[in-house]
Symmetry: C2
Subunit: 448 residues, 2 copies
Amino acid sequence: MNDSVLNRLRSDAKKIFQASLDAVDPYKAVKRFMKIDHDTMILGEMSPVKLDMSLYNRIFLVGGGKATAPMARAVEDVLGTRISKGIINVKYGFGEDLKITVVNEAGHPLPDHNSVEGTAKILALLEDAGEKDLVISLISGGGSALLTRPADGISLSDKQEITSKLLECGASIDEINTVRKHISASKGGQMAKVAYPATTINFMLSDVVGDRKDIIASGPFVPDSSTFQDAQRIIDKYALSDIPHTIKEYIKAGMEGKVFETPKEGDPIFERVFNFIVGSNILALISAEKEARSLGYNTVILSSMVEGETKEVAHVHSAIAREIVKTDRPVSPPACVISGGETTVTIHGDGLGGRNQEFCLASALDIKNCPPRMAVMSCGTDGNDGPTDAAGAIVDPLTVKRGENMGMDALDYLMRNDSYNYFKKTGELVITGPTKTNVMDVRLILVR
Amino acid sequence: MNDSVLNRLRSDAKKIFQASLDAVDPYKAVKRFMKIDHDTMILGEMSPVKLDMSLYNRIFLVGGGKATAPMARAVEDVLGTRISKGIINVKYGFGEDLKITVVNEAGHPLPDHNSVEGTAKILALLEDAGEKDLVISLISGGGSALLTRPADGISLSDKQEITSKLLECGASIDEINTVRKHISASKGGQMAKVAYPATTINFMLSDVVGDRKDIIASGPFVPDSSTFQDAQRIIDKYALSDIPHTIKEYIKAGMEGKVFETPKEGDPIFERVFNFIVGSNILALISAEKEARSLGYNTVILSSMVEGETKEVAHVHSAIAREIVKTDRPVSPPACVISGGETTVTIHGDGLGGRNQEFCLASALDIKNCPPRMAVMSCGTDGNDGPTDAAGAIVDPLTVKRGENMGMDALDYLMRNDSYNYFKKTGELVITGPTKTNVMDVRLILVR
């Protein structure tokens, strides 16, 4: 009896997660977003933007990010030979053969010579694009490393040196980005500047919490709100000494107005740029919700922006699960609670796992006294949770007992951050293989 | 403009919190729950239990807990001189003069001589109650310390010694309760055993997450599921040596069946016991929701069982607040998100504050980039957050800026756990004075 309810919940959870993946599949997301009707390009579904393609002589396709090969394939499938030329940078192993577009494989997360060389080719193409040309740009997670061009006089190793130093001293990601944008010739709207006066359509698959366009891949086509002064203030704040003299001099030159500032909001170049988010965590959650409803669940999306220490985030989610069991709140069973975003794990042990598996193991402990009519799932949309081959896991109120019967103490595995080995034994890993997308994580609580 | 929206939100939040307090006011909660119609006692509102009072010769009123004086006043106001005799134990300073009931003030959180003496008088009254008598019992937070009777041969200091040792070795609250129930003559259903064969109505004001009746004040009228064997296992698990020999011997005697086990589920004595929760966190939240709706808000109750590290819990709540702003989920503005329970704070600094104020300061940082159409409030229902005179605080997206303008760095205050001094300066403390109730905390997020 328990088993049939739990099996049903597990199978439903997997269907719901699959629906969220479908929504953010790079190929499908672009295909869904961009349609052609004769000479009209129709972008988006709800309130579509229409572009008269007869206005443009040439169409160039550029891009950078782990997911851009299937995104480019989608654009090729829609536009075919209307594309004059295409170059994209993807991570090693993430390439595929495309009909028109040249796919450069390059280093990620650390950029290498290929990243710089591929980016140079992309910038040359953008430079070539004129007023009567259309640029279609594809951006996804990893794009910041894959679209790398240090500013004049700065070497790649200089950039890496200051990034490491900023990371070490505990600078926030916003602060690191501010500095990086000001020692780069591609980030912070600078690609838009190179592409100008061409019209640019920029499709983004967002891998950042809150989907801020200036943060996704460091916003190569998006106005930057930070300045050289801000960059210098951050360097001063953390009392960074020994930074490469090339960087010191470049930022000084920027403050003195001797080199160009990143383009700002209101700059006329952005009148010719259309930025669209074609895939994001909230879109994945909305798709999950739709599937859950079709399976008969009462649903609530908590937030696509959940951050924080994984175990603690699990406690809050479990509190909601237990409230559903007890008082039918916030939704009555059959209930599906959906959340997204990306949590962090403070490592205490030397086990194997990832934030999603850790979330599941912490949840398993929190719900062990609940009736066996509940399942909790957490998975990374990239199919890759931490340094493991699992996307995540799926647990229920019997998970702790299941481990006990195999001689495992769930709390001990959690404390050693060894969720992968726990679930490997209980058979509760979710393995999807690499999905080639990444819009962070999807968490589901199902209660019947 | 901002100011008028923010003032409105703050004023609404205070009204909503006040509504939650009204629902769990000890006097009002009992008055609402117990009505008399001629000789019929009507208990509860939705599906009331009716008791024919003509069946009983005498009515005895007993109780223990910080909130029991106003609860007893309510019973006196309803039953008047039908009460034959009453004795309750309350914390020093929490007493009031009642018409019939004797109010013993005693030690809390550490029980003292007065606790033991008052409990002895209560047990004598229960012993005196016969088959034709009715016992009305009142239990609230603090009842465990205030209703103290160590088992035969064990001294109060023996009990305190093992409790300290269990706390030191990191035993869970469930484990500590299991041991304590088995060295007590009042906890774990034993008062019900003494009252038998009288009929007992037990009114509880719950101060524990999840409202488990066997945990509230250690469940003096509730079946106990743990055994002497469990108690011994816990002592063995933590390798507690040097525990008082009286305790060692008593638990040994229990395992050998030489002293009575705590009464279990199914024991006929419980056929004569009616346990009711008259006030709890979820009841406070439901009342808050009702008030929020009447003020025009779309509402969602997340959970009354939220636990975990305060800052991290704040991050999850803020993620929901930001999602409302961005995508109208989980509810569209005007929105009111409600949660309850009790979080913890890992102390890193030597500042002044409490979990509710810490929650507010962490939230203020999380929402500082949100539009100024949001307020976050967190307050303890006892009016007493940590060692401060505030119940909690109320913040908005300008709170961090407000502090900056006064030379304060919100993050620094948070790191030093000094939320009280921050909010004292910004004028954002919520001060209610002692409310004489306690159903843990109420958190509100309001977005317009």
